[in-house]
Every structure is written in structure tokens, then in C-alpha cells.
């Protein structure tokens, strides 16, 4: 469903992704790990279509369509969902009003039946309950004054309602305590299914204790430099990223001595 080939991308003119390849098939959960500044969040934002995140080479296909040609809303309507690393506060627009506009648009585009306001409210309350978010948050401005954990729960709550084909979670674990992490993981796991792809972008292994991936990729310098199964994440946890990123053959130590 997601086919990324030799993707190059710049942020405000600065090249960040430099030849990234990744294939996600329905039913798979992929984790993308990597040190700070390796391009993880850039990848998520490029795929979602954020302004100033520009594809400069290669391609990213979602269900055969080139994402670079689509507006952010068109990507969402096709079933792509980005859970933001830093969810945006929008005072004056209530969470409920926001969900209503989003779901009306996405469900219509996907040919799903429209939810009337009673159904929408019921579904929204259920989704809140699933991520342990008080239903009062539906009345508040989008993310307005929410704590870090509440914002992340709000992202997952939206994801549950939108039922995306492909969910991208950008450092959803950052800033969460262990209880919140478990709640969020439970929400994500409930979406796992043969039709759906999930891409977890994360810096730490601990999220993967709760959402066990099928594949783990290490992103560094704008490319995927190693891919493996879930055990790769454990290796990274033990050894850090250094043994992968310090040189092509891992002989960084020698170079240091000669430097």
C-alpha cells in the first residue's frame, strides 16, 4: 500500500531524505528508528504533505497514487493518517466540530455512510473511553490547554474514528508516562488488522514492547541503513545507534585512533 522508492526530500531547501526505500503492505507494522536528526519526522511530514517539505527526487506511492501530487486533505481522504509529534492547538475550534468536519469529508470520499450527529457523538465518546480521555475534551478547543499526554491520546482518539488504511505515528511515545504509553499502545493495537498498515516512528525501543512490529528499520543520514525483525530494536536498545551509524563497516574505532 505504501511504496517509497529512492525518495529525496528537502525541508525549506535543506536536503534531509537522501534515497529512502520502504515498502509497507497491508497488515504490516513497521517501526522506523534512528538517532535525532536522521530524518524520521521529515519522512512522516513529507508523506502527510506538510508545507515546505518537498519531494525532490524518487517517489512515494500510496495505493498506486503519487503522494507528491496530492494535497494533504486528499491524502487523508485516501486513508492516510499522521499522528503528530506535536499536535497543534486550535483555540476556538472545538474538538467535536473538528471531528465532524474531518469525518464528513473523509467518510464521503471513501464512500462510507455518513454518521448523523448522534452516531458521531456516540462514536467519539467510545473512542475517548478507549484512550482514557474524558469526553469533556470533545467540547474544548482542539488540543487547547491539553497536557502532552492528553494531546497524544487525542491523536489516537482521532485515528480510531478515522479508521485509516495507513497510520503514521510520529514519536507518539515521546513525553508519555508508562500508563499513558500502555493506553496509547492498546489503542493502536486495536486498529491492527489485515487491511491496515502502521508505521511507527520512534526514537526509543520501549513503545515496541507494547506494539510489536513486524519490521524494524534504522534511518540514518536520510536513508534506511538497516532493516530487520523486532529483535533489531532490542539490539539497538543495547548497543545504541553508534555501531550502525559511525561508518560503512563499523570500524569507527580505528578511524578515531588515526585521526
Amino acid at each position: 500500500m505504501l511504496e517509497i522508492r529512492d525518495l529525496h526530500a528537502s525541508v525549506a531547501g535543506q536536503p534531509i531524505l537522501k534515497g529512502l526505500n520502504l515498502t509497507v503492505k497491508p497488515g504490516e507494522v513497521h517501526a522506523i528508528m534512528g538517532p535525532n536528526g536522521s530524518g524520521k519526522s521529515t519522512l512522516a511530514n513529507v508523506l502527510a504533505g506538510r508545507d515546505n517539505y518537498e519531494i525532490t527526487g524518487g517517489e512515494a506511492l500510496f495505493d498506486g497514487k503519487s503522494l507528491g501530487d496530492l494535497e494533504p486533505e486528499e491524502r487523508a481522504q485516501l486513508g492516510l493518517f499522521l499522528a503528530f509529534q506535536y499536535p497543534v492547538e486550535i483555540p476556538g475550534v472545538s474538538n467535536m466540530e473538528f471531528l465532524k468536519a474531518a469525518l464528513e469529508s473523509v467518510r464521503a470520499a471513501q464512500g462510507k455512510e455518513e454518521w448523523d450527529s448522534v452516531t458521531l457523538l456516540r462514536k467519539a465518546r467510545e473512542a475517548c473511553k478507549q484512550v482514557d480521555l474524558d469526553a469533556q475534551f470533545l467540547k474544548r478547543g482542539v488540543n487547547e490547554g491539553f497536557s502532552g499526554g492528553e494531546k497524544k491520546r487525542n491523536e489516537i482518539m482521532q485515528m480510531l474514528l478515522m479508521e485509516p488504511k495507513l497510520a503514521l505515528l510520529d514519536e507518539t511515545d515521546s513525553g508519555l508516562d508508562i500508563d499513558a504509553l500502555q493506553t496509547v499502545a492498546k489503542g493502536v493495537n486495536s486498529l491492527r488488522g489485515p487491511e491496515r498498515g502502521i508505521v511507527l516512528v520512534t526514537h526509543y525501543q520501549r513503545l515496541l514492547d507494547y506494539i510489536v512490529p513486524d519490521f524494524v528499520h534504522v534511518l540514518s543520514g536520510g536513508k534506511i541503513i538497516k532493516s530487520g525483525g523486532k529483535e533489531l530494536a532490542l539490539e539497538l536498545e543495547q548497543h545504541g545507534y553508534g555501531w550502525l551509524t559511525s561508518g560503512d563497516n563499523g570500524d569507527n574505532g580505528k578511524k578515531d585512533q588515526t585521526a
Binding site: R50, G92, E97, A102, V106
Partner: protein
């Protein structure tokens, strides 16, 4: 146009105003006030292009001849009902048949000389009044339901009306007053509302200006807090061909508190000019002003927020915030806080910004499948909705939300017409 036919607009307006006032049908109850105002009008010049307080607002639209005729149109049949109690004032005259007032409120048909109002339009208002409405709220009366005052102006040709409302809140009284302006057609409403609050009085005031786009409005709102009182005023205003709102507030007894919240919207080619002036003349009073402005297409909005803290007004707390949103490059908003502080022992804060829609907020909405145009509409509504969400009366909020949504959707056709 040759030089000798060029119009001296201020002179022309003054001549018109004086003639109208001298020829107006006498009204016995208003005679002393009218004489007084006429004398003041004689000694006052109308603003021209070089008048500082009218820097951003031209009176050129009045060359259509609004002052040459009185508005005589009929009020529309379907007027919004926001309360069981209401007054309907049509072209400046009270419609007695449609009057319903609660107990504890006395209706009068007089007007008094108003200290602190020195503009030519306010003098003209007093000098040419056909009618005036005074509401006296008895001491220690908690008025059960809001009083809605509908100021209707209607006319098919350029014309004008003078509207006068005075409200006096007795000691310990409470009132919710909803002033709603509804002009239809090319009519200039020249309005004065004066509100006086005695000790322990509490007023919740709304000023809803939903006039048609081709109408004009020049008005003054005067608050006189002669007692330790509290006034909460909510002002929702759409721009039209010409809208000029002066607000003057006098905090004249220690402990008085004034809170003003306003939203103004100038879309298409509409114009709105807000001139606020809060006078702190005694110690320990509080004023808090929060205004949000929004302009799109070729709309033009102005806010000048003057806070004048007199030498004796120690312990004053005064705040003014005005955030504005420009929807596109053709629109313009001019905002200026103007602080005059003559006492060191005060707390005074102000902030004014003009910005554009936040790109990240817009991306967030779009990333959820909401298209760009709808995202913009939601964000601009959200920008002012924070204030609407804070309205204490549900009936007003229920009226305001769809009205504002329609205003923010733009008035289709209006721009093409004007172009």
C-alpha cells in the same frame, strides 16, 4: 471636476445638520436638550481629511445625500427575538405597540445633556431628535430577563435617522441589555446610547451590529460609572459601507469595573472604525478590554484604544488587547493602543497584533481531510469564536454563532457588485 465646484464636505455637512436641526418638528419634552445641542453644534466643525480622529474614515459616502432626508422606511416584519422583553425603535421613533418591559423598569421619552460627548454627530443627534427612549431601572431590582432593544433603520434612498437610548441603573440593580442594530437600505444611523450605573449596579450589555452592507452607522456608546458598579459589554460588529463606533467610558467611583469584549469583521469592501476611550478619573478602578478583528478581501478595519489615567487615579488596573487577523493581502487593519498615564502607581498593559492564519494549524486540519477553504473558514471562525464561546447569555450566543459564520463565509455578490 473644476476647482470652484469642489465640495467642502465638512462645511456642507454642518450646513445640512444645522438646517435639519432648525427645521425639525418641535418636541416639547426634548426642547431644552435640542436647544443646547444646537448651540454646541454651531460651534463645532465636522471632521475632514486632516482630522486625526478620522484619519482612517472618510465621510465621502455622505455626499450621496444621507443628511438631506429622514429615513421613512418600514421595519421588516420578522425581527429577531432574543428575549420576551423588548423595545422596537424604528428610524429613531419608538414603536409603542411592540413594547414589552419587565417590572422594575420605567420607560421615559426624554433625554439629558451628556457630559463627555463632544463630537458633531453626537451634537447633531441631540439637536434633531424626534424621539428619545429612557429606561430607568429601580434600585435593588434584579430584572428577570434581558431587555432587547431593536434599533431598526430602513429606507430605499439615501437618508438618515437619529437614535437615542439612555439607560439608568439604580443602586443595587441588575440588568441585561441587548442592543441590536438592524439597518436596511442606504440609511445612516446616527446613534447615541448612554448608560449610567449607580453603586452596586451590574449591567451585562450587548451591542449587536448586523446591519445590511449598504447601510451606514455613526454611533457613540457612553458608559458613566458614577457608582461602584460593574459593566460587562459584548460588542459584535460587522463592517458596512461606513461604520464608526466611538465608545467612551468614565470610571468615576473607586471600585468600578468595566469589561469590554468585542469582535469586528470587515469583509468585501466594508469599513469599520472603532475609537475606544476609557477615562480613569478616580483611584482603584479596573478596565479590561479584549477585541478581536478580522478583515478579508478589501475590507478595512480600525481600532484606536485610548486609556487615559488621570493624575488622581492611583491603583488603576487597565488592560487592552487587540488581536487581528488578515485573511488576504487586499485587506487592511490599523490598530493602535494609545496610553496617557499621569500616575505612577498603576498597572496598565496593552497589546495589539495583526497576523495571518497559522500555516501549521491549517496543515493540521487539512491532514484530517478538511479541504483548504473549509480549514480557513474554520480557523477564522475559531479566531473570534473564543469570545463568542464566552457570551453569558445562550440566546445571544445562539444568534451570534450562525450570524458570524455567515459573515465569515463572506457576503457573496457584494464584492462583485462593488467592483
Amino acid at each position: 471636476m473644476s476647482g470652484d465646484t469642489a465640495l467642502n464636505l465638512p462645511e456642507d455637512l454642518k450646513t445640512r445638520a444645522l438646517n435639519n436641526a432648525r427645521q425639525a418638528t418641535p418636541v416639547e419634552a426634548l426642547a431644552p436638550l435640542r436647544q443646547d445641542a444646537l448651540a454646541a453644534l454651531e460651534g463645532t466643525a465636522f471632521p475632514g481629511r486632516k482630522t486625526e480622529a478620522w484619519k482612517y474614515t472618510s465621510l465621502y459616502a455622505l455626499t450621496d445625500g444621507h443628511l438631506a432626508a429622514r429615513a421613512e422606511g418600514a421595519a421588516p416584519a420578522d425581527l429577531p427575538t432574543l428575549s420576551d422583553y423588548r423595545l422596537v425603535i424604528v428610524n429613531g421613533r419608538l414603536d409603542e405597540e411592540r413594547t414589552a418591559l419587565p417590572e422594575g423598569v420605567t420607560l421615559g421619552r426624554a433625554a439629558r445633556r451628556l457630559e463627555g460627548l463632544t463630537t458633531p454627530f453626537a451634537f447633531y443627534n441631540g439637536a434633531a431628535l424626534d424621539d428619545a427612549v429612557t429606561l430607568d431601572v429601580a434600585a435593588n431590582t434584579d430584572v428577570a430577563a434581558p431587555i432587547q432593544v431593536l434599533h431598526v433603520a430602513a429606507g430605499d434612498a439615501p437618508s438618515h435617522c437619529n437614535v437615542r437610548l439612555e439607560v439608568n441603573l439604580g443602586t443595587g440593580s441588575r440588568l441585561t441589555l441587548i442592543e441590536q442594530y438592524l439597518a436596511r437600505g442606504p440609511v445612516l444611523t446616527n446613534a447615541v446610547t448612554a448608560i449610567q450605573a449607580a453603586d452596586n449596579a451590574h449591567l451585562t450589555h450587548y451591542r449587536l451590529q448586523a446591519d445590511a452592507g449598504d447601510s451606514l452607522h455613526i454611533g457613540t456608546l457612553l458608559f458613566q460609572q458614577t457608582g461602584v458598579s460593574r459593566i460587562d459589554s459584548y460588542q459584535l460588529m460587522a463592517g458596512n459601507r461606513l461604520r464608526r463606533n466611538d465608545v467612551r467610558a468614565f470610571l468615576d467611583k473607586s471600585g468600578a469595573e468595566l469589561n469590554m469584549h468585542g469582535v469586528f469583521v470587515a469583509r468585501d469592501r466594508s469599513h469599520i472604525d472603532n475609537q475606544l476611550c476609557v477615562e480613569h478619573r478616580v483611584p482603584d478602578c479596573t478596565s479590561n478590554q479584549v477585541y478581536r478583528g478580522l478583515a478579508g478581501e478589501k475590507g478595512r478595519a480600525v481600532l484606536n484604544g485610548r486609556i487615559h489615567i488621570h493624575p488622581g487615579a492611583k491603583g488603576t488596573l487597565a488592560e487592552l488587547s487587540n488581536k487581528n487577523l488578515l485573511l488576504n493581502a487586499g485587506a487592511e487593519i490599523d490598530t493602535k493602543p494609545e496610553l496617557e498615564i499621569y500616575n505612577d502607581d498603576v498597572k496598565c498593559a496593552h497589546g495589539a497584533t495583526v497576523g495571518q492564519l497559522d500555516a501549521l494549524q491549517q496543515f493540521y486540519l487539512q491532514s484530517r481531510g478538511i479541504d483548504a477553504a473549509e480549514a480557513k473558514r474554520m480557523l477564522s471562525l475559531g479566531f473570534v469564536n473564543e469570545l463568542i464561546m464566552g457570551l453569558p447569555d445562550q440566546a445571544v450566543a445562539d444568534w451570534a454563532q450562525p450570524w458570524l459564520a455567515a459573515e465569515l463565509g463572506g457576503r457573496p455578490g457584494a464584492d462583485e457588485e462593488a467592483a
